[in-house]
Amino acid sequence: MTAQNTIVVIDDESQIRKVLSITLEAQDYKVIDAAKGKDGIIAVANYHPQLVILDLGLPDKDGFSVLAEIRTWSSVPVIILSVRDSEDSIVKALDLGADDYITKPFNTKELLARIRANIRRVQNVGNEAIVENGNLKIDFAKRIVYKNDFELKLTNTEYLLLHLFFKNLDRILTHNFLLKEVWGPSHTEDTQYLRVFIGQIRKKIEDDAAHPKYIVTDSAVGYRMLPVNN
């Protein structure tokens, strides 16, 4: 049970909470804000929001531990909003179960797009047998990927990777996550595997592999499959 259009904002800076409230309320979201990690956790528990925006630097407890605590009982989408734009803390937050991140200073348009994408993705998690994205189409039952309705010749690993991207459309997937899912927990450091396979997949699915529009690299954090409109 989630409250429609409710977003919990956990940030210690009152000004940022204010701007976010004004902007989000103008988009017809209901905003509950909290300055402290503890209050934020209580708000998430009480209001069952559709989405949580979480700052990593909080006065009472670390944003990471707030995230970890929420994740023990809720799968609500969490967007990390932080001045800590170092890749390490972003990867750490994503591996702890955050769904997306955005660094301060942020662009409102981008933030709104991320919020919409994450809410949509959660709503769409069904057991659809076939998912389409641009010219691509995946048939989970038959384990086949089509491009312009032609079947692509894929190795098993390539298919597994594409399967993950289609299941998590428009969501950032960390190197760590992809390696663990496809190669197993003992290979989480072998990012060179990923580069090789992502390169091969791009050659097969992209029109121009040098300028990918489906699978994009998100700095040094991971990869994201963008939704593409025809």
Binding site: E13, V19, V83, K109
Partner: protein, 524 residues
């Protein structure tokens, strides 16, 4: 390398009466100790004794003469005579006794058989007792010398272990070396790896020139002694250079200038080695201490840098985030068409810009204070104006707070730098409203006592934790656990500006709760 005789300057040791006496006494002692003197002295003593006895012969028998000779010989070891001269004295006295005293006189022949017996016994007793006594005496002297060395070493180690700095170590090393070996001393420490410092330690009693420095550098690199009394090129210098080193590192060189006609026996040499070993250990200890201190300093400054960087970058990014967030949302149709939302966002952007401006001003102010380029532009202004303009400037931020201001009429005028004191007041008032809840009250009072203006700014918030009262004026210091926002600069700038006017600012907690700042300005 050339011979350097004249280059050794006794710079710290000009020739004076004292040194003349010392020179004289060394010459005398050298003569006294030389063996030729001793041999001639023993000949002289025996001859004189013989002569006296010869003239006194009448009242004494010739047997008693032998006893007197024995007595004199047994006294010789007490004058530090070695076995050689004593033996000579024994032989000579036996001969004199026989020749002049034993009848028949003036012949070497001895008439009576008991006289022959007595002569042989006299000779044996004189030699043996002379030898024995001189041996005991020598042993005594050696023990005394050993004792002296042990005492010197003990003194050195005790003083070295009490030394607190490299200067202390050098000072007591020089003193002990001078006292024990009667030398002039120069210490040269390593400056960096592989090089000695170009300057000898300032406490050294002699200075050295470049040529000598090169020798010292060679000693430092090779860790082997060079110079006078050493096996390696003793002719190269008047000074004996000894390396200071431990198992792990080379530390420096000590140069010793012995008196000209001294010699270095094996015992003294080994004592000297023990000395340098002890000194090396002490120097290394000081070196390591210094290293540890430096490491700590680096660590501290890194910590400060990190705090500064974290707080400033957070403070810069937050208002920029607000401004960008607000401005970038103006492209959104829903927002641009909703007038109230639009104006609220503009307000927020405005406040953020003010905050950014204050941060930049604070950073500039603290830089001005730190760099010492602060010049006061004093003019006559009304105190009431000062407080009112500060309140006006802080109005936007204080909308949620109640501010009571009471300015006594007698405050009048003061001679001060208006913008600086205004900024100081703004910072203190800002601190009060920033760290109290909305609708808290801030009281401002100003009054004059003779030529002192007292401005009190108090609030009814939580006050400061007692333990933090001493820290709040420190640069970049923020009370742990306070809310986000702020660099910890405001109060330290206020203090700096007020102190530039020879005023004071103190903070305390009121009995009724809340913080109170008292600013006292001596305004003429």
């Amino acid at each position: 390398m050339k011979q350097i005789d004249s280059t050794v300057k006794s710079a710290n040791h000009p020739i004076n009466k004292n040194s003349v006496y010392r020179k004289l006494s060394t010459v005398i002692s050298a003569i006294w100790h030389s063996s030729v003197t001793k041999y001639s002295l023993s000949v002289l003593i025996i001859s004189v004794t013989g002569l006296i006895l010869f003239y006194l012969q009448e009242p004494i028998s010739y047997q008693a003469v032998s006893l007197v000779f024995l007595f004199v010989i047994s006294l010789l070891p007490l004058l530090n005579f070695r076995p050689g001269p004593i033996f000579l004295a024994a032989v000579m006295s036996a001969f004199i006794w026989n020749y002049y005293f034993i009848p028949p006189e003036f012949t070497l022949r001895i008439g009576k058989i008991e006289d022959v017996l007595m002569f042989v016994m006299y000779f044996v007793i004189a030699t043996v007792s002379g030898f024995l006594i001189s041996r005991i005496r020598m042993q005594q002297l050696m023990i005394k010398q050993k004792e002296k060395r042990t005492a010197a070493l003990y003194n050195l180690t005790r003083n070295l272990s009490a030394a607190k700095s490299l200067d202390d170590v050098t000072e007591c090393s020089i003193k002990q070396l001078k006292d024990t070996f009667r030398t002039e001393v120069v210490f040269i420490y390593a400056e960096c790896d592989n090089y000695l410092s170009k300057n000898s330690h300032p406490l050294s009693t002699i200075t050295i020139d470049d040529g000598e420095w090169n020798i010292a550098q060679m000693v430092y690199l090779s860790s082997a002694k060079v110079g006078r009394f050493t096996e390696a090129i003793p002719s190269i210098s008047q000074i004996t250079y000894l390396p200071l080193f431990t198992k792990d590192r080379k530390l420096g060189v000590v140069g010793l200038l012995f008196p000209e006609n001294s010699f270095l026996d094996q015992e003294t040499d080994s004592l000297l080695n023990t000395f340098t070993n002890q000194i090396s250990v002490a120097v290394e200890r000081e070196y390591l201490k210094e290293l540890a201190k430096q490491n700590l300093l680096v660590l501290e400054s890194e910590k400060l840098y990190k705090t500064l960087f974290d707080s400033v970058s957070h403070e810069l990014k937050t208002p920029i985030t607000t401004i960008l967030g607000a401005v970038s949302s103006f492209k959104d149709e829903k927002i641009i068409n909703n007038q109230s939302v639009f104006y609220r966002l503009i307000d927020e952007a405005n406040i953020a810009a003010e905050r950014l401006k204050r941060l930049v001003e604070n950073l500039l102010d603290i830089t001005r204070l730190e760099s010492g380029t602060l010049r006061l532009k004093k003019e006559w202004h009304s105190i009431a104006d000062l407080i009112n303009s500060a309140l006006y400037k802080i109005k936007i931020e204080a909308v949620d707070h109640i501010i009571n201001c009471r300015i006594e009429e007698n405050t009048g005028l003061g001679n001060f730098d208006y913008p600086l004191l205004e900024q100081a007041l703004i910072n203190v008032i800002h601190n009060s409203i920033e760290y109290t809840l909305p609708s808290s009250t801030t009281d401002i009072r100003a009054e004059r006592n003779r030529d002192k203006i007292t401005i009190t700014i108090s609030d009814n918030g939580l006050g400061f934790p007692e333990a933090e009262l001493n820290n709040i004026f420190k640069k970049f210091y923020r009370v742990p656990g306070t809310k986000a926002g702020g660099t910890g600069l405001g109060l330290s700038i206020a203090k700096g500006f007020i102190e530039a006017h020879e005023g004071t600012i103190t903070a305390k907690n009121k009995k009724s709760g809340g913080a109170e700042f008292i600013i006292i300005l001596p305004l003429k």
